[in-house]
Every structure is written in C-alpha cells, then in structure tokens.
C-alpha cells in the first residue's frame, strides 16, 4: 500500500479524534451527564457527525466511480437479528456504567486521560470473549 493511502487513514482518524476531544466526548462525565438528561450535547455531536458522514456516503459514490486514492466504495450492511439487538443492549449497559465507548477510549489517551487504559483493557477482553466463545462468521 502506498504512502498516501496510509496517510489518508491517519488524517481521517486524526479528524475523528480531534472531534471527540473538541466535543468533550472523551470525558466520561459528560457522556454520563447526557444519559442522566443533564446535558443533551451528545445528541448534537451525533447529529453533526451523521449529517456530514451521510453527505459523504451518499454523494461520493454518485460523483466518483471509485475512491480518490483507489479501491472501491464499501457499503455497510447492518443485519437485524438477535445478535445485533442483544449486543447493542449489552453495549449500552457498559456504556451507561462507565460513560466510555470505543472511539473515546482510544482517543482519550491522546489527551492524557490515562484511566481510560483500564477501559481499553476491558474492551479488548470483551472483544476476545465474543470472538472466542460467541463467534459467527
């Protein structure tokens, strides 16, 4: 893979991480305040992110035959089954318990939020348990 393609992934991730920090989503206390209806800011974060991503996802494949750096446009296909819903329910229980989700758990380290390392270890462990004991290809 060529350097520009790596750089694209790095810059995209950097924008994502900058946004997580700017919106204070790397602070579990702010996320928990949303879940307790004290500050609904998280809805603005989600809304702002979805609108921009939606525009890119829907417009780019209509204007371009392939991505600017080559390859093909992938498509996310979510399936509706018990795993999707039960998994989401368990995910929410964890999210509500600690106020952390995967993106902020990673990004928070860049802002010196070291206790999030504990959450990262937990997420790796949970992902391992899923793949080891509840795999589905």
């Amino acid at each position: 893979m060529t350097a520009p393609r790596w750089l694209a992934a790095l810059v995209a991730g950097t924008l994502f991480g900058l946004g997580l920090a700017w919106s204070t989503m790397i602070r579990p206390e702010i996320v928990i305040d949303f879940l307790l209806f004290r500050d609904l800011g998280l809805l603005l974060v989600l809304g702002g992110a979805v609108v921009v991503a939606l525009a890119c996802y829907q417009i780019a494949p209509r204007l371009l035959s392939k991505p600017l750096l080559g390859g093909t446009f992938a498509q996310r296909e979510s399936v509706l089954d018990r795993r999707t819903i039960i998994g989401a329910a368990l995910f929410g229980l964890g999210w509500g318990l600690c106020g952390v989700c995967p993106g902020p758990a990673i990004a928070g380290l860049g802002a010196g939020n070291w206790p999030l390392l504990i959450a990262l270890v937990g997420i790796f462990l949970g992902a391992y348990l899923q793949g080891r004991y509840f795999p589905k290809n």
């Binding site: 393609r5 992934a9 790095l10 995209a12 991730g13 950097t14 924008l15 994502f16 991480g17 900058l18 946004g19 997580l20 920090a21 919106s23 790397i26 579990p28 307790l36 209806f37 004290r38 800011g41 974060v45 989600l46 702002g48 992110a49 991503a53 939606l54 991505p67 390859g71 446009f73 992938a74 498509q75 996310r76 296909e77 979510s78 399936v79 999707t84 819903i85 039960i86 998994g87 368990l90 995910f91 929410g92 229980l93 964890g94 509500g96 318990l97 600690c98 106020g99 990673i106 990004a107 802002a111 010196g112 206790p115 959450a119 937990g122 790796f124 949970g126 793949g131 080891r132 509840f134």
Partner: protein, 155 residues
C-alpha cells in the same frame, strides 16, 4: 429555554460532531472504507489470537489501516490538548471502567457496531437495523446510568 438542555453551550458539540463526521467521510471519499471503531479491537487481536474466527479476512485484511486510524484518534486528541486544553482525568471508578469496558467490547462485537459503527456509519448508510441498535443501546445506557445514580455512584 433551549439553553437549559445545553448548560455547557452548543457550539463545541456541533463543531466536534462535524469533525468526527468529517473524519469518517474523508476515509470514505479517499479510500472507500467504513470507519467504525469497535472492529479495531477484534482486528488487532487477530495479530495474536490464532483461532479461525479472528483469522477471517475481514479482520486480518483490515487490521493495518484500522490500527493507523486508531493511531490517528490518539493524535487528534493530542493535537486538541496541545492547542487548547488541559489534561483531564476521569474520576469514574476503575471497576466501572473495567466492567463497563468488557460489556462494551463484548456487546459491540456481538452487535457488529458501536456508537460509531451503528450510530454514525450505520445511520449515514441508511441502515435501519443500525437505528434499532442505536435506540436499544441508548435505552439500556440511560437505564444503567440512572441505576448507578440511584445506587449512589458518581458523578
């Protein structure tokens, strides 16, 4: 009236959200990739776990760019810290971070998506199962947060 729902203001939430969407969108426009974040954990485990589930192409074939993307997440937050911020450390108890983390990792991988994968990428792809997943995890998260508050947990 509306200010009471946003005691810390609104602009930084909207700007941050649009930057997040910009990162996800840029990854798609430049490379055609769907940039959720929870797959990173399984794809990174594929470097060390030999079992067939972890060795699938969807993990082995994407683990390199997912690791670079994750490195970007760290860099982006570090950039923010360097320019604007002061370091902030959460006061959420370690056991909550660990147990919550296990549930997050297990649940997101079972569901094949998290707040980014279902919430941003799934909704932006107009995948209605993702909308149901989002509503489900919002409901259980709100319930759990209230339970913790009722039990006297902080904050």
């Amino acid at each position: 009236m509306i200010e009471s729902f946003f005691p810390r203001g609104m602009a930084h939430y909207l700007i941050g959200g649009m930057l997040i969407g910009g990162g996800v969108g840029l990854l798609f426009v430049l490379r055609g990739l769907i940039g959720g974040t929870s797959t990173f954990f399984t794809s990174t485990l594929s470097y060390v776990v030999e079992s067939p589930f972890f060795q699938q192409a969807r993990f082995v074939g994407t683990r390199a760019w997912r690791a670079v993307y994750a490195l970007g997440l760290v860099l982006g937050a570090a950039l923010y810290l360097a320019v604007y911020g002061e370091p902030f450390q959460t006061g959420v108890a370690a056991w909550r971070l660990l147990l919550g983390g296990v549930l997050i990792g297990f649940g997101a991988r079972l569901s094949n998506g998290c707040t980014a994968g279902h919430g941003i990428c799934g909704l932006a792809s107009l995948q209605w199962p993702s909308l149901l997943a989002v509503l489900t995890f919002l409901a259980t998260a709100i319930g759990m947060a209230h339970l913790v508050q009722w039990a006297g947990g902080m904050p």
